[in-house]
Point group: D3
Chain length 198, copies 6
């Protein structure tokens, strides 16, 4: 069965036509990852919006925070699972496999995070992610209090909330454009490394 | 009944402690609007994230686009209605009243947009906003094709999708922090101006 | 944007053609409120049903009861919010603003009552109203017991239930006929009176 | 297994303590039906509300209308099925069996009306009843137009809508009070009469 | 109103054309029940699948188990209620009436099991049946633990789960084929036997 | 993060204690697959039920039918996606990758089948699987007719329906027991074979 060969159903400019700053970023992606993530190519239809998206993404996912990078990726996957977003589940499922060194964990979070054996802090954050995604109008003090009791500071709760909120944005951009993930993600870290690598 | 007197349940720094650039922006808000929108105060708990939020907001809501500013505000209100987000319904409901000069239109969009008499392009955009918000996994080619047939370019569809996606982000930030809108919004443009003002 | 100019999509007789008793009631409305509420005009398509509707309405909303008139209006708004009923949200949102002297309270109840700061009795009644509206088959002894423990008598619980039930009726009449509220409601009590008026 | 022996969980006065007019009505019920329907006993906790309920009920279910009495009972059952209301399904399921002379029809409507073989007018009315019950905010011109095309006048659509609306009220009164139907209903018309009786 | 006269919308072979073993089973049904249950006739379109279905059914519903036959039938009805399956509600509602000797119990379970007065073990099993049917992905240790605490062994929980699971299969076969139950079920045990029969 | 090391939360007997016929089957699994699928080990808590499960499974998934084995596996995955069943998504996702030689197709079907490029027959069968799983009470003649028009015989529709129905059974057994899939599935066919292998 031939699978989709588009990046975004809205199309995108040829990369050679992009502004110099964007071409440099894309070159850096190829250097580091081996490819330009399709979300960036899809967003290049609107270059200034692409710049803002990358700035926001980098701050939320990579800047210093009380949440580890793995925790943020776990949140990304659970939000995308609630929204059944193919692009983000593939791309961030791979990230969870890589950061955790656990090829099954990404699958569990993508398919039904409740089957994973998580410590209480992680489980609470993922329950919050699911609730804020599916019934945001029901979030209340009891949810914030439970996170505080697990040791999250007000800034940590803010960062958690913004991670959830951001993937509710990006899931919808992926669905609205029928964005297809790069094939490379599918094969990443499917086998757990030997224990000495941990 | 005493109503909430917090801005965000996560708290926020005193404005005098903010970086110079943020203080200047807040001063400008007071100058132009008479107040600092509470969403900005709430976001100032995490200053760099506030900067990114404002940059993204301004691009999506105010930059040149095939969608008018009123159309973008209408989308904001319908997304917020689907998510039952109090903050965004109050703030952007006021914006719809102001930009349209029609005090009832904001109410209709906030409460059930299907009762408003809209031209087919507007109605289609709002139906798309509702669907992309509530069942993003069901959006498909037929939705994009219908928008194209109403004259939206690929860039217009991108901008529409990002407006929907962005309010799915900001609705969740408001719900996660129990953000309360500035009281000023409630009174804005409750009476239609005389016709000569249109 | 021109907004709807109909009262009900099913039409209604000219008021001059109504029976004498109904014309007198309508005249009294104009005298007291300045207008005939559109729900009465819409119902006049079926005069005997209009009479019954008014009798039931007056008993439920205005007769002596353990629930205050403001509490009954608050319930009306929360039921109408669950059902996304434009007519009732506009008309009874105005009533909440008037009876409470609090222009924001009506907005909160219409958009997401969980953001309002309510005393436990009120909050419990509104939670009950939401549940009885959206999942009536799940109401059970624990719900009735909780209301009793807040001091409601059996008669009070009956009156609360009938208020919820009645707006589930009237919301559906409004939706079925696309009933449009009188414009006057939109402007009522948008600014809180000076404190001495309370 | 002992089954419930209450009429309403809120209790009700002894019938001998009721006002004369209500006692006469109850006596007439016993004369005609063999029993006082429990909904009336349950409502007698609030006598004036009982009077209004009976007046409204009689007008909607028994007065001259473009809808036959069987059609109104069919609507009652389908609304009650959507709301999973035990009391109304038992009482009005029996009424459908009696009025139609078809012991299976009441079962079909109570359990899943889509399996019944209905003429297009009936099916359309029942689809409308389901939609107005479960998603009233989505009812629009296309629904009203479809009913008109099946020959319903504006008054007929009004009567249909009010029947749906009324059972959304009474279903909630039954659920709120855990009203238990009289046992007599269960046995009524379980076997189809010989053809000559039709 | 003429009611459906088909057994399955997919049709089925004439019973005289079936293999000998199946004809013998059908003859035994007539002998014991007075008729061949339509589910067997419908399944005979695919004879080997019919054999497997009967084997599975007999093991789950009739073999020795920590769950009584009545309990298994009660589970069957509640699952079918959640799925609004007409065939199974009629056939297994009759079985509940027969096995319990209580003509109302089957009605309660079919229409809204929460109104029945059940002992805690039964209520817990039916709550589990509802949850495993409607939100299987949310079942977790707390559900299994609650069943254990009511005295169910691991094997009992397995049998309960498989009963729920099996009716989720058979409900869907009935819906997919529009299977119509034999008329005989409707009249079975509509009147409670005199007490001495219990 | 340590992942689950149980097979079923209800436990299972040591394989050496099983009856001879089951031990032989398990030995054959090891010979052919390299392992005993955990669903069989979990079911061995109730040996006769295990036998019936295997018989039914083999008939539905492996016997001659108008549906290809790949089509049946695709249906299995889409049903399991609707029910968010971790076990079946992992095990049958691997089967789709193997039978199709397309490592991405299994992912697409597990996460959101609507993004896959399917021929109309396949898409229709998967849409039917989703509908029969999530809203069985809404399946009607129009669904069956659409399948007929795509060339499915009555027997093919039966087989499709039973495949859907069977995974609604097995998904619930997996959820009820918290069944964990064998780790081997995760690594199977993650890279597409060179074209000459097809």
């Amino acid at each position: 069965m031939p699978q989709p060969d588009h990046i975004s159903k809205l199309g995108q400019p040829d990369q050679s036509e992009l502004d110099e700053d964007l071409r440099q970023i894309f070159a850096k992606c190829v250097e580091k990852l081996g490819f330009v993530p399709n979300v960036l190519a899809a967003y290049s239809l609107r270059p200034q919006r692409l710049r803002n998206f990358m700035t926001t993404y980098n701050e939320i996912m990579l800047s210093p925070s009380g949440l580890s990078k793995l925790e943020r990726e776990m949140v990304a996957v659970v939000v995308s699972s609630a929204n059944r977003c193919y692009y983000c589940l593939v791309a961030h499922g791979a990230a969870v496999r890589q950061l955790s060194g656990d090829p099954e964990l990404g699958e569990m979070l993508a398919l039904n995070y409740r089957v994973a054996q998580l410590d209480p802090r992680e489980r609470l954050m993922l329950d919050f992610a699911w609730k804020l995604t599916t019934t945001p109008h029901l979030v209340d003090d009891s949810d914030r209090d439970a996170l505080s009791q697990q040791g999250l500071s007000q800034e940590d709760i803010f960062d958690l909330a913004e991670t959830v909120a951001f993937f509710n944005l990006s899931n919808r951009m992926a669905s609205a454009t029928d964005m297809i993930p790069n094939r490379e993600y599918h094969q990443q870290m499917r086998v757990a490394p030997p224990l000495s690598d941990h």
